[in-house]
């Protein structure tokens, strides 16, 4: 109950005209950097940071977090409209969002994405309001074996989705792992698979792979078919947006399930990317319309977006309480906290409750403001698709390459993006699933690090993965999910005679 009192006080702090104006400005700027090539939330944050030094910390963090929400929404927009995910966590949104846009349902896809993202974020914030103390303590129980178990769980719930050829799924995932291994190895402190090339020192960036595989690869397919965007003639009116809002309750199961997954992955340090993939994987497995996934199924947009934002917002609390940033954006924000004279850590809650609860209150308000603002921009964004393809096509290509360059300012990445583009085209045409490659690239080296750290701790004994209740539960859950197709087959065979005898 104490938390609610603090929260009400927080609302009192956050709900002033000045702060709401800051939220709108922040969200608009965030959408801008989220949609623009090569820019992301970190750019926006580092641009705003100097401005915020003259503000009081509460106003400053409201501005920065609102910009962060805006950038997340902007990232989903490009995923759906152009198949170019702005952030790793919006990759799963492309699976069904882009097909929907291609079929002329861009407005519907965007509306669903924004609303479910807002819903997920809200659930995440409610969770940290109610359980703030517990969440911070719970996160402390995670060490390397538990991290590994969480990553394993994310893989297990997603694996086997391809469905075409198991060999091709394995090739795709294996390549993802191999790409993730390139560069500096944390555990041994040595360089791996760089073959003496300076360009590979810092590894192969996940974003380059995504820009190539999704952005350029997809354009090649579109061009080859001689297709144009089918969305061209689909006029978008605000009425379509309103109508889609009405369909939201239909997805309540997916919304709730994805929120739970998102919150869980946000608190355990699995992160938003793992959350969105896991949520998509489970949504597909549990759906009655499995075949429709990947071809423009609305639930395939709702599930990853909800989980992504639920994880993103619930992860902010461990960050503040533990002082460990979960992403580049969070890192820059934490740098800001220190410059404002605030030390992230367990004491922040006790020393500066006005700041913490002002922030949490601003997460409620900021998300609502963000959803309202982005919904009104949908007709604007969807109308981009009406630009003739001879203009928008090459501009998307340019956007892809500018984005590839700005990831790290390396010219080599332009070639890499081109190579990934070719690979994406080939893979897509030959029915290699691309998603496992992406997931392996994001989580591969983290999972490997966690595994090897665990082995150092246990002196090479695998028993560490059953050494306490938490890690044992996670690993067992992962194993069940991984072998679910096999298990369900066995179960079906075992139960069938019984049911027939019962009916007989």
């Amino acid at each position: 109950m104490e938390n609610f009192a603090s929260l009400l006080h927080g609302f009192g702090v956050a709900l002033t005209t000045y702060h709401v104006a800051l939220m709108v400005v922040g969200v608009l700027l965030g959408i801008l950097v989220g949609v623009l090539p090569g820019l992301g939330a970190p750019n926006g944050v580092s641009l705003l940071l100097p401005l915020t030094f003259t503000m009081d910390p509460v106003s400053a963090i409201i501005l920065l977090t609102s910009m962060y929400w805006g950038a997340l929404f902007g990232g989903s927009t490009t995923s759906i409209l152009f198949n170019i995910p702005g952030e790793p966590s919006s990759v799963a949104t492309t699976f069904d969002g882009y097909p929907m846009a291609k079929q002329g349902n861009a407005a519907e896809a965007l509306t669903l994405a924004f609303l479910s993202a807002g819903f997920g974020a809200l659930v995440g914030v409610i969770l940290i309001t109610v359980l703030s103390g517990w969440v911070a303590k719970f996160a402390l129980r995670f060490s390397s074996p538990e991290y590994f178990a969480v990553y394993f769980l994310a893989f297990a719930s997603f694996v086997g989705l391809g469905g075409t050829s198991p060999f091709k799924t394995v090739v795709s995932m294996g390549l993802g792992f191999a790409f993730a291994a390139v560069g500096m190895d944390t555990v041994s402190g040595g360089l791996r698979l760089t073959f003496g090339l300076n360009e590979l020192l810092s590894g192969i960036s996940f974003l380059i792979a995504v820009i190539g595989l999704f952005g350029i690869g997809e354009l090649m397919l579109t061009m080859e078919e001689g297709l144009r965007f089918d969305g061209i003639r689909a006029r978008v009116r605000l009425r379509d947006v309103v109508r889609t809002i009405g369909t939201m309750p239909r997805y309540w199961v997916a919304l709730l399930r994805s929120s739970v997954i998102g919150c869980w992955m946000g608190i355990t340090p699995g992160g938003p990317t793992a959350a969105s993939f896991m949520s998509y994987g489970l949504a597909k497995r549990l759906s009655r319309r499995k075949e429709a996934f990947g071809k423009g199924e609305p639930e395939g947009v709702v599930a990853p977006e909800t989980a992504d934002h639920a994880a993103g917002s619930s992860a902010i609390l461990p960050m503040l309480a533990l002082g460990v940033p979960g992403s580049a954006t969070a890192a820059v924000m934490m740098g800001g906290l220190m410059i404002w004279g605030l030390n992230p850590g367990p004491m922040l809650f006790i020393e500066r409750p006005d700041f913490v609860w002002g922030l949490i209150a601003s997460m409620y308000l900021g998300n609502m403001v963000a959803v309202l603002v982005v919904l009104t921009t949908i007709p604007l964004f969807a109308s981009i698709l009406r630009i003739p393809f001879a203009i928008i096509g090459p501009i998307i290509v340019i956007v892809c390459f500018i984005g590839a360059y700005t990831v790290a300012g390396r010219s080599f990445d332009l070639w890499l993006a081109l190579a990934f583009g070719l690979a994406g085209y080939l893979f897509k045409k030959l029915d290699y699933p691309i998603a496992p490659l992406v997931l392996a690239m994001v989580l591969g080296d983290k999972a490997e690090d966690a595994f090897r750290q665990s082995m150092i701790m246990s002196k090479g004994s695998l028993s560490i993965f059953w050494s306490n209740g938490l890690v044992a539960t996670l690993i067992s859950l992962g194993l069940v999910l991984a072998f679910w197709p096999l298990l369900s087959m066995v179960l079906a065979r075992l139960t069938r005679p019984k049911t027939t005898s019962a009916t007989a």
């Binding site: 500096m184 040595g190 750290q453």
Partner: protein, 331 residues
């Protein structure tokens, strides 16, 4: 070794001749600050602090662009600097990794291919244990490690980097053996210690300050010749200056500190190096810099020119001895 002496001779010569030259060089275009860590890292905070002070006090006419090149533990940034030989508009920010990295990994640059400009601060290392652990001082911790060799776990940032070097030094000085667990960064090592998953870490004061305040971790000793500055109490009973030096506490290590260094590419005019050394000296005299040093509990020490070269040479010899003993050196 021959390479090293010839480098020292060469730099000594340039200093002699450079001193005669007029220090009237000025940057002609925006200066790029190359940060050899990812955003949010210690080096990143350092470089952005310098940038904001230069901007605030208008210490330079040209603007500053900061780029992060933290790949390969910072090697990416140093290789980038090497390739930019002769370009005096690229200033690279690092630690002692600038001259230590090439020992442990096969890299396409040599320290002699960079021009040292200044060291602006020395970051301290503290031995920490979990707040609820039975060890109240360094002695009891070392005793416990001696009683059960290779069971106590010390966490740190990265592998074959400062934390693991220090762990190795402690092992040598006290005849103990720990299990060293490398994490992504000091922050992660701090959380692992607070959660009781490891037994100790050697984090910088700044990395553990928050957890200490909350009582989740306890400092045992600091690897510095003198105690830390800073009077205010952090917890109810202790402040930074109440942490004994490790020598006092019974670990015979005189000093282990990490310099925050600034470099130029090789082959730049001597006047350029002097210009930046002078600029950074001005930065280090501002109140904002002092505030940053105090907040992060580092030691304020500005080194440039001969003094810097001597410091680097000493640190290089001392650390490479550890690398040699541990067999980390790649050839």
């Amino acid at each position: 070794m021959i390479k090293k002496t010839s480098w020292l001779v060469a730099t000594a010569l340039t200093v002699v001749f450079g001193a005669a030259a007029q220090a009237d060089w000025k940057p002609a275009k925006p200066v790029e600050f190359i940060v050899t860590s990812s955003p949010g890292g210690g080096t990143d905070n350092f470089a952005r602090m310098v940038q904001s002070i230069i901007a605030k006090h208008k210490l330079m006419e040209q603007s500053v662009v900061v780029t992060n090149k933290g790949g390969g533990s910072g090697a990416e940034g140093f290789v980038y600097t090497k390739v930019a030989a002769g370009d005096p508009h690229k200033l690279t920010f690092g630690t002692n990794n600038a001259y230590l990295l090439p020992y442990v990994a096969k890299l396409a640059y040599k320290p002699s291919e960079l021009t040292p400009v200044a060291a602006m601060a020395l970051d301290e290392f503290v031995l920490w244990v979990n707040g609820n652990s039975p060890y109240k001082d360094a002695k009891s911790f070392i005793e416990a490690a001696k009683a059960k060799p290779e069971t106590l776990k010390i966490g740190g940032s990265q592998s074959k980097d400062t934390d693991q070097t220090l762990t190795s030094l402690i092992e040598e000085a006290t005849g103990t053996k720990f299990i060293y667990v490398p994490f992504q960064g000091g922050g992660a090592a701090g959380v692992q210690l607070a959660g009781g998953h490891i037994d100790g870490n050697t984090n910088n004061p700044n990395e553990n300050a928050g957890q200490w305040k909350a009582g989740a971790v306890t400092p045992l000793c600091v690897f510095s010749p003198t105690r830390l500055q800073g009077g205010a109490k952090v917890t109810a009973t202790m402040g930074w200056s109440d942490i004994p030096t490790c020598k006092e506490a019974g670990i015979p290590i005189e000093q282990f500190q990490m310099p925050r260094t600034v470099w130029l590419p090789g082959g730049v005019p001597q006047e350029a190096a002097e210009f930046y050394a002078d600029l950074l000296k001005k930065v280090s005299e501002t109140p904002e810099w002092k505030e940053y040093i105090e907040r992060t509990s580092q030691t304020n020490r500005f080194l440039a020119g001969e003094e810097l070269k001597r410091f680097i040479a000493e640190d290089d010899v001392k650390t490479s001895k550890v690398f040699e003993r541990e067999g980390w050196i790649v050839r």
